[in-house]
């Protein structure tokens, strides 16, 4: 009986700590299955139009610095990463999500930033410490937008 109470208290404490951590960082927990994060982060629904804005916004996604996205008509995209034309034909929604969340899980040497991670970075500028590059809603918006880039 005492044991059960302790276990309950412990699990409550754990849930509390977890909730606190989530508040502070803005990160929702996620589960990786093979090379994908199948479930939407925080159960949120993405909006493709907003996602397109985020991809173009130099202060948020800034994806064009490395990737061509022909649909945007941007004449000077970067060429560090592959073109994102037809990306939804090559990857499932969950695969795209993991690549945005943390590409380094698939390729530890990748140059693509981990947009939804805060752990084990070094020398982060003070204003960005403890924060992911993009928040939960922004990731889901981007996933929704990339999902429209079929063939």
């Amino acid at each position: 009986m005492r044991l059960a109470a302790t276990a309950l208290a412990l699990s409550l404490a754990f849930a509390f700590v977890n909730a606190k951590a989530r508040d502070a960082s803005g990160l929702s927990p996620f589960v990786i299955v093979n090379d994908a994060v199948p479930a939407a982060l925080g159960g949120l629904k993405g909006d493709p139009a907003r996602g397109r804005q985020i991809a173009l916004d130099r202060r948020r996604g800034n994806c064009l610095i490395c990737h061509a996205i022909p649909e945007t008509g941007e004449p000077f995209p970067g060429e560090i990463g592959p073109s994102l034309a037809g990306v939804a034909a090559r990857f499932s929604e969950g695969q795209i999500r993991l690549r945005l969340v943390d590409q380094s899980r698939l390729n530890p040497k990748t140059v693509m930033p981990s947009y939804y991670r805060i752990a084990s970075f070094t020398d982060v500028a003070p204003e960005y410490r403890g924060k992911p590059v993009l928040d939960t809603q922004e990731i889901e918006d981007l996933v929704a937008y990339l999902g429209t880039l079929g063939k």
Partner: protein, 256 residues
């Protein structure tokens, strides 16, 4: 027949370039610029950075500080005394063991020999003097010492260059080694060398130091920026100079 195959197979191996020691220098950052920028840089009359060089030439002859001396009073005409100085900097100052670049060396002369206050790092005066001094080595190949007392600074600079940092988690090397020659948006990433500094940057509308460029790249990856003249930057500058071995000094270069 077998012999022929064997000797053919050997050709590519023999044709391989000899290893690093005698490797060709890396291409200067100028090679990645538009023809318009390259032409403007090469034309003394059109290169806006030459205004800083001219200001530096005036300061060279101006008496400063309580010792009542100008730079020229000790060094004579810069055309002779400063020729071949810039290409061996950063270098270790033997009495203190500190690593100095051109800017911090000039400030040491001010405080120690001229008995004057040091110039602010990114001030027009210090940039002018550094650009003027470096200009005397125009076209001469960079060759810094990385052995002896310089070795620990070199090692630290190299470690800095290869360490991932910032919220975007990128090292200098991931851009300037792994992706040199590729477009990052509209910019072509160069090998990240300092042979044209101080450089006139169109975005800055002024001449800026190499350390200002470091700050810009660190800002880009959302990493901690250090003060101008900070030891980390001096170490990094030495490592970059070692990568620039054999490349001609082009100060003041022009960049977008």
């Amino acid at each position: 027949m077998k012999d022929l195959v064997k000797s053919l197979a050997l050709i590519p191996i023999l044709a391989l370039p000899p290893s690093s020691a005698s490797a060709d220098p890396l291409p200067s950052g100028t090679t990645f610029q538009s023809t318009a920028i390259r032409a403007q840089q090469a034309d003394e009359g059109a290169n806006p950075g030459m205004l800083w060089v001219e200001a530096g030439a005036k300061l060279w002859g101006r008496t400063e500080g309580s010792a009542g001396k100008s730079c020229a009073a000790c060094h004579g005409p810069a055309e002779q005394s400063m020729k071949g100085v810039a290409f061996r900097y950063p270098a270790v100052e033997p009495t203190t063991g500190h690593l100095l670049n051109l800017e911090t060396r000039i400030n040491l002369c001010r405080t120690k020999n001229q008995k004057a206050a040091p110039l602010a790092y990114e001030s027009g005066e210090l940039l002018g003097l550094a650009a003027f001094a470096a200009r005397q080595s125009l076209g001469l190949p960079i060759g810094v010492r990385i052995d002896g007392a310089a070795a620990p600074f070199y090692e630290q600079g190299k470690a800095f260059f290869y360490r991932r940092r910032g919220q975007l988690n990128l090292s200098c090397a991931q851009c300037h080694v792994d992706n040199a020659g590729r477009k990052l948006r509209a910019d072509t990433i160069s090998h990240g060398l300092g042979n044209g500094y101080p450089t006139y940057r169109l975005e800055w509308q002024t001449v800026g130091s190499l350390h200002r460029r470091f700050r810009a790249c660190l800002f880009g990856v959302r990493a901690v920026q250090y003060d101008f003249g900070a030891p980390d930057y001096l170490d990094l500058e030495l490592y970059l100079a070692s990568r620039a071995e054999g490349i001609a000094i082009e100060t003041p270069a022009i960049r977008p």
